[in-house]
Symmetry: C2
Amino acid sequence: MKDYYMIGKRVPRTDSLAKVTGAAKYTGDLVLPGMLYGKALRSPHGHAKIVNIDTSKAERLPGVKAVVTGKDTLGWKWGVFRMTMDMPLLAVDKVRYLGEDVAAVAAVDEDTVEEALGLIAVDYELLPVILDPIESMKEGAVKIHDHVERNCYKAAFEFGNPDEGFRNSDLVRESRIVTSKISHSQMEPYGALASYDHVSGKLDLWIPNQSPFVKRRALSHALGMRLGQIRIHHCNIGGAFGGRSDVQSAEFIAALLAIKSRRPVRITYTREENMMATRQKHPMILELKIGVKRDGTIMARSMKVIEDGGAYASSGLVAINIPWVMSEHVYRTPNLKYEGYLAYTNKTPCSMMRLQPHEVHCAEDSLMDAIAEELGIDPVEIRLKNAIKPGEVLPSKSVVTSCAFSETIEKAVAESGYREKRGKLGPGRGIGIGCSGGIAGFNLGIRAVSSAFIKFDEDGGCTLLTGLVDNGQGNESMVVQVAAEELGIPMEDIQLVNGDTELTPQDPGTYPMTACLVSAEAVRRAAADARRQILKVAAERLNVNPKELDIRDRRVYVKKNPEKTMPVDSAVRLSFLKGTPISGRGESVLKAHSEKGWSYWGELKFEGQQGGAYTFGTVIAEVEVDRETGRVKVTDMWVATDCGFALNPTAVEGQWQGGTAQCLGLTLYEEHQWNEQGRLLTDSFMNYKLPTSLDVPNIKCIIVESMDPDGPYGGKEVGLGSTLAPGGAIANAIYDAIGVRVKQLPITPEVVLKALRDKEKRK
Amino acid sequence: MKDYYMIGKRVPRTDSLAKVTGAAKYTGDLVLPGMLYGKALRSPHGHAKIVNIDTSKAERLPGVKAVVTGKDTLGWKWGVFRMTMDMPLLAVDKVRYLGEDVAAVAAVDEDTVEEALGLIAVDYELLPVILDPIESMKEGAVKIHDHVERNCYKAAFEFGNPDEGFRNSDLVRESRIVTSKISHSQMEPYGALASYDHVSGKLDLWIPNQSPFVKRRALSHALGMRLGQIRIHHCNIGGAFGGRSDVQSAEFIAALLAIKSRRPVRITYTREENMMATRQKHPMILELKIGVKRDGTIMARSMKVIEDGGAYASSGLVAINIPWVMSEHVYRTPNLKYEGYLAYTNKTPCSMMRLQPHEVHCAEDSLMDAIAEELGIDPVEIRLKNAIKPGEVLPSKSVVTSCAFSETIEKAVAESGYREKRGKLGPGRGIGIGCSGGIAGFNLGIRAVSSAFIKFDEDGGCTLLTGLVDNGQGNESMVVQVAAEELGIPMEDIQLVNGDTELTPQDPGTYPMTACLVSAEAVRRAAADARRQILKVAAERLNVNPKELDIRDRRVYVKKNPEKTMPVDSAVRLSFLKGTPISGRGESVLKAHSEKGWSYWGELKFEGQQGGAYTFGTVIAEVEVDRETGRVKVTDMWVATDCGFALNPTAVEGQWQGGTAQCLGLTLYEEHQWNEQGRLLTDSFMNYKLPTSLDVPNIKCIIVESMDPDGPYGGKEVGLGSTLAPGGAIANAIYDAIGVRVKQLPITPEVVLKALRDKEKRK
């Protein structure tokens, strides 16, 4: 194990102090001189034509500085892919979900804004509201989007020969699971601050985001402005989880209002707006079929998934494939049949979420356990037999490089005492196992590249410029830690400037899971570039070969004679005096990168390298189930994950604990509910049940390191890996406790009780 | 003449629109949430010990959030050189000029601030006030600084053998000229905005400056903070002219108040404070002696200069040498004897000014004319005979590279009709000639290097990062124009980020006249770096050798087949897709650069290369003198300057018109006056006479280009060159008009009338 200076150490995150003391400012805390407050008028109907909007009374209200409607826009529509650019950021002629932005007001204070909203008169022509994806896809259902047949998209293909695979199976079993619509529930409510300079024509924005470059590009189209005229600033972001990559109405509307009113405008969503009008996660109806040999070897898998995407497609064409993309690297599947549907409904639009598709793993792990039980095979053995190994080629022809999946299974099992406990914990208590995996670096064409710059100050400190943003997962700390390692200087000597479209170079953002594999690697290379220059200066001064030198704690030293040193700041100063000031430049790209760019995605079949690297994880959960109430209490969890290398073990464990808690929420508590008119009933934390610290069990994190050849110091990614596995572990633990298999998520007490009753009936 | 795309063209400056519409915000316009107003209590005495300061009443006043005195400081003292670090930024135990900062208050509004200042009780022990530099240097004069003998510094040396030079002269003539203390009179009043984050320990500042890195370094010492903890932001700056390079009390005090009050604090000076408490320009008593051969060839020069530096030295050790440094490259001087004194007085401290040492050129050109008259030589011929030529080695052993000095003389003479008009314009009217020169790039050790970064956006636009600041001379526009030229894209496609210590690389700033020679050259190299990468991508795509390509108007084209093109944005996008995103990095250093750094300057003898390049200029002025009133009216001026190459002729002419108007002010109108207690009487534009547009004559600018081998596109510098010459031209024109030679500046009506009376007496 290399003796690193900073990497691999448990260091406090650079952002922690400001965040825990409340000093950190988020978009909703920012104030600009002359700032107005903005807010949207939202559709009270799930599906309707807009016949007329009369804003005249609102415009006349004293204190109102601007009112905008769809008529004030270019009518541009957002969508992640060209074929699904279906979302106006401010409704023009139709509303497609209850809560959609219909008009907006900017005024001097929030009370005036509310009053003005009430003065806007909208005439609607109601249309039938469709809330069920299956109903939506039926022949004759009213079209939510005129250009889309049957209100849906379909992705269907086969890898290998699944029919033959099933024919050659000794046992074929099926499973069906239904999950609920979920909110990402970022603690920071969404919003945006916009400021427009009429003389220069420049727009400044602060928006919670997952890549300021993605936001800017979309706004550039939406507003008809050049990229250079729009600047998305760095801001502290309180969570994203996949839901803040899309451009959203708030920033667009704030920009429109700022341009029209000639003053800065800030929009801050209430929690209700955050629930109702920002992205949710696709619920799924998943029909899974697995065929195995008698010894448990998987021969074929078949998946049919119906995803409810809500009113607009967003990144739905990714979501439609995610179930197989995110599971083909868990259990070996030589033959795969896939049929995926993305249906429109008159509900909040969905985008990707970190925990997607946790339900696939839940269903799969439940079915694997059932199959193992039927065949008399140990659940651990059946997993080890089918677990993907390093170097394997997946059905999509994607190659797995580093992989320590089996090790995660073995370690989780050993640490938890799974074998000793299974079936033996006593009445109402059980233990279960689940597995999942992540992808570090989705192939995203032009967005797959990151650059970084480093410039030095004469005292040996430096500034690091990178386009990477931090959504709370610790990316800012990570890149500083990486630079500190390469440069041999403490983290406090490095000032970070990041996530600003004007100041910092292009970066993929956090959506494609490239923060470590690509962004941190670009930073590492920039720091390595600067390091080479430092060593060159020092080598001349110390009269040695640069290879003989190392840097640690601000000192360059001769490895074989550590007394012989030169301070880094002296080397920097000397470089200034010599006229060759030390600076660093580095770039990195996803190896899976293709020049095909966007068109590749539009073909709806993802053949070839899916990502830069894969991560793997195993979760074991111990539960107590109360047969009377149906309540499931998770008492302990063991989470073993192969992340490649833990750059900062404390931060890594924090990620897994957070992700596990999130999946716990989706598995046991969280579900959205709608009434017949399409109104979201679960629009606050009063009735949308997010797990609290009291609900989260002891989580023991086990770091497994496979040392990826492409990641910086061997690191891959941390946000996924095992975080999609808790559902399967809990479902299997419930079976171990009370002998029932659940068919829907979340596993509420009602679901448990119903399953118990059904089991009774079958007897 | 090369067919440039952007360079050499008359383009509007990038900052003009915002500045003329009033949209541009200056430091005094900035507002931060919770901001307090700050102001200093100023000493009412010219020289006194501080016995006690009682701030208790002020602290108790409601609305007052912080009060600071010298006790709140580390007692660090500012000075440009180690041996003259004599200036506390907030008085500790003594005040040395009337108006010195003694204490300061931050409060919620300006009225409360004023009231609080009135509640601060300071006990002084008065000391004798010294206002005359000659009195100050006398034996027994009270010491203004305990550690400095005779209240002065001396620089005395000889180049060549002046005694022999004078002995070999056929004619030796002397002259004495006295000038007044002058204010730089920047239109933007000084001030500072400071904001401190207690959690991170970071200080943000906005300060009018000539290099944010110089300000930061000083504040780092003064506040005991690391460089990385202090960020000087970019701001619009309304003039500097050499007076805003020093760290000053305002920013230091604003920082102290912000730290103590835990809120942002803004200090904005009144015009009176700007006059009294920011740097002024050294007045001089100059005794000049020139020895010539009968044919007018200069054999030797002797200069004795007494400069009144005010209460603190600042950059006085540069000022003490400036008279010879700035004149040795005008008229050839094989032997030079120099004696310079910098005296302390109890007046506003002085620093360098753009127009320094205009009085030397005024005295020299007057004496040259007198010598020419006595020898019967044409004033133009005597100048042409002695004018420095390219390649010459100066007394200091500094080498002149590019030089078109003679051409400036010839062109100014031809354009103005000098020979036809001299002695023939009629009663009270005259024409005169004067010459001067500038230095592009003083040797400043560690500060002589500049770097630049360029990062691209996917639409082919880019951001340019440079540490260079703009004081109003058009530096920002210049670097954008240079980048546009190299990249072949319009200026509007380039976003500029500059002058920020955290974001942008180290830069010398505008003080050492390196903006074009070094900073713009670094930008040019960064753009050239990016250009090479663009051409490489395009060459592959177009299947040609990169040498066959050029870029213009956002298109790469084959020079011999211009129909064959590739848009720049396509090349940029392709580079992203390939994983080698185009970016630019460049650095440049002053060729005169030495590794000796600061110690070199401290030796007080400047032998060796003085700067990167030299500029030269000739001014001819036509005047009308009213013998009754003594009023001098300048009716026309011709300004011919060798700037190397005019990157933007409109901006260049603007600089010369402005500089000429400034020198006009110093020559005819501006003078500070003090009362016996050391109070500055001329503390506003009511009584300090700045020329208005009505006073400025027609100025015809003649651009002369010598194409410097080191400057970008041959450019050197623009701010100096000819701007120190108008004084001599006007003085000589007055002699042509009324036959008197003036011995002091400004040439007020009183001075003219006195000279006329003295002339009468001599008859």
